[in-house]
């Protein structure tokens, strides 16, 4: 029914319009062609003159209306160190083009008004003027040169990569349909390599865990997670894509670069203002106490007048600016620029992706063995302990617990990872040929005391056998199974019992 009415309306309007046309055509015929044309000329000329004023006024009025969205003005200042340069260039270009825009429009519409056709007017025969033409070729050429030089100067500075020794933080952004995945280097300060064929549902970036640098990398992929950046530090973003083109776009930083599968790109920038400071700017008040930018004082949630104000909820936003499919418009991440100290604290709290999601799973290439870094750490630990023990005079201080020597439950079979600690012990004994030791096994108090004695004895013997196999002389080692007779913690708690199940060695002579 509505469709029918719509069609009827269209038909009616068409008829009316055609009738208007017909009537005016008849009127023209009655009045005579020339009179009608002259009248039309007057109408159009006046319209153009009126349009000139209204148009130029509207252009300026619109700039006033949208002033808070203008680059480098009011609340829309750049939040990166290179940003103001670009804003300045924009405004410089706006200045020059604005002059041209106004002058040409004044001439265009003024001439249209002034030289409207009249019966008594004679058109000027003015086919060319070389001097004029040279002038208006030269002037744009000079202005263009100015803008090109300024533009390229800024461009080459902004787009330059970091120098080989330049201090900076490198992070990585990967565009996927339809989200951004961020990766930060861990304590080593370097991002590890990745390869798209390594990608699995868990390892969504395809990190190569054989590359040590990957092991401490931190990944943040949830849309709600804040991306923290330190103020005043140079950031180099490595920009990659997993499936189709994306574009890493942070309008407030004046940062934009395509993300391309198979072709990593980068953008280097330095955040220059913290989120907190930016919020303060947005929420600032005039001298008379009224808000400088009232639109930022509106409630963040329009439905809930009690909610925080917009400026209080402000974050910098990361968007996608290259069409990547139907969810293109939704790839939002929020960015929080904080002080360097706060950023470091935050980074310390972040967990390595490898350790939280990969370590020990089937995808872990290091499953069943220690990482080099862990081996090194344990060795250092062990060495400090024995040095302390060697220096000690009290017998009780010459006992060293082998924290990383473990047995399978209820048996005396060493776990695979125990060998690292035992190797440390072997190296120690090898280096200090005068040392003799007592190898001791301990259990908790669960089960029969006799059985515990046997188990602890078997376990101490397993250590003994391992060292013997490695070539330690048998007379340098004695073996004792203490069972549950020497607890170091209470056996009433699980933690205590855990502590009591242990393997130790005591330096007897040195």
């Amino acid at each position: 029914m509505t469709g029918l009415i719509a069609v009827l309306c269209i038909v009616l309007i068409t008829l009316v319009v055609v009738q208007i046309g017909k009537v005016t055509e008849l009127a023209t015929k009655i009045r005579g062609e020339q009179d009608a044309q002259e009248e039309a000329n007057n109408w159009s000329a006046n319209f153009f003159l009126a349009f000139l004023f209204i148009f130029l006024f509207a252009c300026i009025a619109s700039a006033v209306y949208y002033k808070n969205d203008m680059l480098g003005y009011g609340p829309h200042i750049a939040a990166s160190e290179h940003g103001p340069t670009l804003d300045y260039l924009f405004n410089l270009t706006l200045f020059f083009t604005g002059i041209v825009f106004i002058i040409t429009h004044i001439f265009l519409f003024w001439f249209s008004y002034k030289y409207r056709g009249r019966r008594d007017r004679k058109a000027l025969f003015f086919p060319h003027d070389n001097k004029l033409e040279v002038i208006w070729t030269a002037v744009p050429a000079i202005v263009m040169t100015l803008l090109v030089v300024g533009g390229l100067d800024a461009w080459n500075e902004v787009m330059a990569d970091v120098g080989p020794d330049e201090e900076h933080i490198e992070i990585e952004a990967t565009g996927v349909q339809f989200a951004w995945t961020m990766r930060y280097p861990g304590p080593d300060g370097a991002l590890g390599t990745k390869y798209f064929k390594n990608i699995t549902p868990i390892n969504a970036l395809g990190l190569d865990f054989n590359d040590e640098k990957c092991l401490d990398d931190i990944i943040s992929s949830a849309a709600g997670e804040v991306i923290k950046l330190p103020v005043g530090k140079k950031v180099r973003v490595r920009i990659t894509a997993r499936d189709v083109l994306h574009n890493f776009d942070i309008p407030h930083f004046r940062v934009k670069m395509d993300a391309i599968p198979g072709l990593p790109t980068y953008f280097v920038f330095t955040p220059s203002i913290t989120t907190e400071e930016y919020r303060d700017r947005l929420g600032s008040l005039k001298n008379d106490g009224t808000p400088m930018y009232p639109e930022w004082h509106e409630p963040y949630d329009p439905e809930d007048p009690e909610s925080k104000k917009r400026y209080e909820e402000f974050y910098f936003e990361l968007a996608c600016a290259e069409l990547c499919g139907k969810g293109h418009y939704s790839m939002r991440r929020i960015i929080d620029v904080v002080s360097e100290e706060e950023w470091k604290e935050w980074m310390d709290d972040q967990k390595s992706f490898y350790m939280t999601s990969i370590r020990g799973t089937d995808e872990d290439p290091h499953k069943g063995k220690l990482l080099d870094i862990e081996i090194k750490e344990r060795r250092m630990d062990f060495n400090t302990k024995v040095e302390k023990a060697l220096a000690a005079t009290e017998l009780t201080e010459k006992i060293i617990r082998l924290d990383h020597v473990n047995f399978e439950t209820g048996s005396a079979r060493l776990t695979a990872l125990s060998r690292y600690e035992l190797n440390n012990l072997f190296d120690f004994l090898n280096k200090n040929q005068n040392v003799t030791v007592e190898l001791a096994g301990h259990t908790d108090n669960v089960g029969e005391p006799e059985a515990n004695i046997i188990l602890s004895d078997d376990r101490a013997n397993a250590v003994y056998d391992y060292l013997l196999n490695k070539g330690v002389a048998a007379d340098r080692m004695t073996v004792v199974g203490y069972g549950d007779t020497q607890p170091i913690e209470s056996n009433d708690t699980a933690e205590g019992r855990q502590q009591n199940r242990r393997t130790e060695f005591k330096i007897l002579t040195q």
């Binding site: 046309g21 030289y115 056709g117 008594d120 007017r121 004679k122 033409e133 069409l323 939704s330």
Partner: protein
């Protein structure tokens, strides 16, 4: 007109009979067996004038569809909360109606609409509909030829375009939807059906359609070039050609050099899609698997695409510039100012158009150093463009301007070209482009400078040469309503978009609600949508005027109603196949002798008299 102005009196038939060149036309074409029945006259016609009308009416058909699509996606952007359930009968499953009866546009189809809007407008309307129409209509008529060099190829050019249209139209009805990866069709999105359902059968039909379209452009272009070079009548030297012909001629050359590159890019896309090659693919993990397609580069496609894509904007705007130059001169009753400078500007723009393509790719991951060169060449284009603008304005100076719809649109064109051209200076400067790239600032820029401006050139052409096409005038009152509404409306649509761009609002967003920085333009977006609907309605008014005037418009009573100097107005009102019934006219002067020596205008066919001042 004026009492002291000599209105030249001449009888073109007599003049051509006396002075004209006898090419024995009648010996060959007696009875005109090629145009004898309805099919050969109106459908498979080889007459350039009929083919021009075919291009124009097909262009109008596509313009309505393409602009209609923009209204639908503007409704989504301006009124995201409103129900679109009423449009479900048209769009079917692409409108999802929830339990409350609120219909929302599917994002997938939103992107399909955006893509189709761009493709249709750029290729089918502003290339075929504009250049196709007026190159066909005016080249033979204005250079004094009986027809195109090859009427058969000319006919085939239209029918390849028609076929391209049929394929594209069919793609609108696919269950997976039409192609939705943007008119630029960047891979990998356009190559991988896993990435977007529009990249399935929709993209196949899209590429097939556009390859057919390239064939059409090339057949037409070869013809235009050959005709201009070889079929100019006696006396019509290159420097006497009207600027329209210069524009069509150079446009055809640009098209001939650049469209094959686009075709090659499309062939490589087809290979990547259908044969498993990897020209544009590398290191991709999608749909749960890592593809075995490595070694290609998505950026390579962008180079190939923009090697056409940038010249393409001049393929669109140069014919409009030519039409506007001619219309401004005729209706200001003055010679175009700086004719030679105008020609050299066209040549300079055409040359530069081939070495600026990467300014679309400043942020695409190409080496920043390369951008330096493209910035320089891009901003140099501003110089010939500025020369053209100043010359148009000076053409008005001291004129005796006859304001009719054609002239209004020509002046409107100059305004649009200034407004849109100046924003190009921002975008061509790579440093500023960092912030502006792919934002609404770009949308505003290219819509004004090559969308609206090109349309204005086309409208100026249609209103001006409608009498030549149909022997009747279009209605002036409706034409003026059409102009003022569109002129003001177009600014209302696109001006605010500059501010969205400054705020960094990216283009091709289905919704702005996700981002705090983009969400506060809801009022502006509503405003833009309302303006777009009004402007769209005004274009329907133009269509009504157009078809009404074909049959019911005011009849043409004299053969040269505008007092123009060019040859098309020396043909009979009802111009037959072969254009001139007897001999073909011989040309004695350039096309711009208006107001010279106190004479209102001197047609090109009039010999130079002894007492005349310097002539061209």
């Amino acid at each position: 007109m004026a009492s002291d102005l000599v209105t030249t009196t001449y009888d073109p038939d007599l003049l051509i009979e006396e002075q004209g060149y006898d090419d024995h036309f009648h010996d060959h074409h007696h009875g005109d067996k090629y145009q004898s029945n309805f099919i050969t006259h109106y459908v498979f016609s080889q007459d350039h004038k009929i083919i021009a009308k075919q291009f124009l009416i097909t262009g109008i058909f596509w313009a309505i569809i393409g602009a209609g699509m923009s209204i639908i996606f503007r409704l989504q952007l301006g009124f995201p909360e409103e129900s679109l359930a009423w449009i479900k009968p048209l769009l079917g499953k692409w409108i999802t109606v929830n339990e409350a009866g609120i219909g929302t546009l599917d994002p997938q189809f939103y992107y399909a609409l955006v893509t189709m809007h761009g493709t249709i407008l750029v290729f089918f309307v502003l290339t075929a509909g504009l250049s196709g129409t007026f190159s066909n209509l005016l080249i033979p008529l204005q250079v004094g030829a009986r027809d195109m060099a090859s009427p058969l190829l000319n006919m085939m050019s239209y029918w390849f375009f028609f076929l391209a249209g049929v394929v594209m139209f069919a793609s609108l009805f696919l269950s997976t939807g039409p192609f939705s990866g943007g008119w630029t069709a960047y891979p990998p999105l356009s190559v991988l059906p896993q990435a977007s359902s529009g990249s399935a059968a929709g993209m196949t039909l899209w590429t097939v359609s556009l390859v057919l379209f390239v064939v059409s452009v090339l057949l037409g272009g070869i013809n235009y070039i050959t005709t201009v070079l070889n079929l100019r009548t006696k006396g019509m030297t290159m420097w006497r050609m009207p600027l329209t012909i210069w524009a069509f001629f150079i446009t055809a050359i640009i098209g001939l050099l650049s469209f094959p590159v686009l075709a090659s890019a499309f062939f490589l896309v087809i290979f990547d899609r259908e044969l498993g090659t990897s020209f544009f693919l590398s290191d991709i993990y999608i749909g749960g698997e890592a593809l075995d397609r490595v070694g290609g580069s998505p950026v390579l496609f962008q180079h190939l695409f923009w090697f056409l894509g940038h010249p393409e904007v001049y393929i669109i705007i140069l014919p409009a510039m030519g039409l506007v130059s001619e219309v401004l001169s005729v209706h200001a009753r003055k010679p175009i100012f700086g004719y030679k400078a105008m020609v050299y500007s066209i040549l300079a723009i055409a040359f530069l158009s081939f070495i600026v393509w990467a300014h679309h790719m400043f942020m695409a991951g190409v080496n920043p150093f390369i951008s330096n060169i493209f910035v320089i060449f891009t901003l140099i284009i501003a110089v010939p463009s500025a020369v053209k603008v100043f010359n148009w304005i000076t053409t008005l100076y001291g004129g005796n301007i006859r304001f009719n719809s054609a002239m209004l649109f020509a002046i409107g064109f100059v305004s649009m070209f200034i407004s849109g051209g100046l924003t190009g200076i921002f975008l061509g400067n790579s440093a500023i482009d960092i912030q502006m790239h792919d934002t609404y600032f770009v949308v505003a820029h290219f819509h004004i400078v090559m969308g609206i401006a090109a349309f204005f050139g086309m409208f100026a052409g249609i209103y001006n040469w409608f009498p030549k096409m149909y022997g009747r005038f279009m209605n002036e009152t409706l034409g003026k309503i059409h102009f003022w509404g569109t002129f003001i409306g177009a600014y209302l649509i696109f001006w605010p978009m500059h501010y969205l761009g400054m705020a960094g609002v990216p283009r091709r967003y289905y919704s702005f609600e996700t981002f705090d920085a983009f969400a506060h333009f809801d009022g502006t977006n509503k405003f833009i949508t309302i303006a777009a609907i009004v402007v769209f309605a005004l274009q329907l008014l133009f269509v009504v005027n157009f078809f009404y005037s074909i049959w019911k418009g005011k009849r043409m009573t004299t053969r040269n109603p505008w007092g123009a100097t060019t040859l098309e107005w020396t043909t009979p009102i009802d111009t037959g196949h072969g254009n001139w019934p007897g001999k073909i006219p011989v040309v004695h002067r350039w096309a711009y002798d208006y107001g010279k020596d106190g004479r209102e205008f001197i047609p090109q066919i009039l010999p130079v008299s002894e007492d005349e001042s310097e002539s061209h």
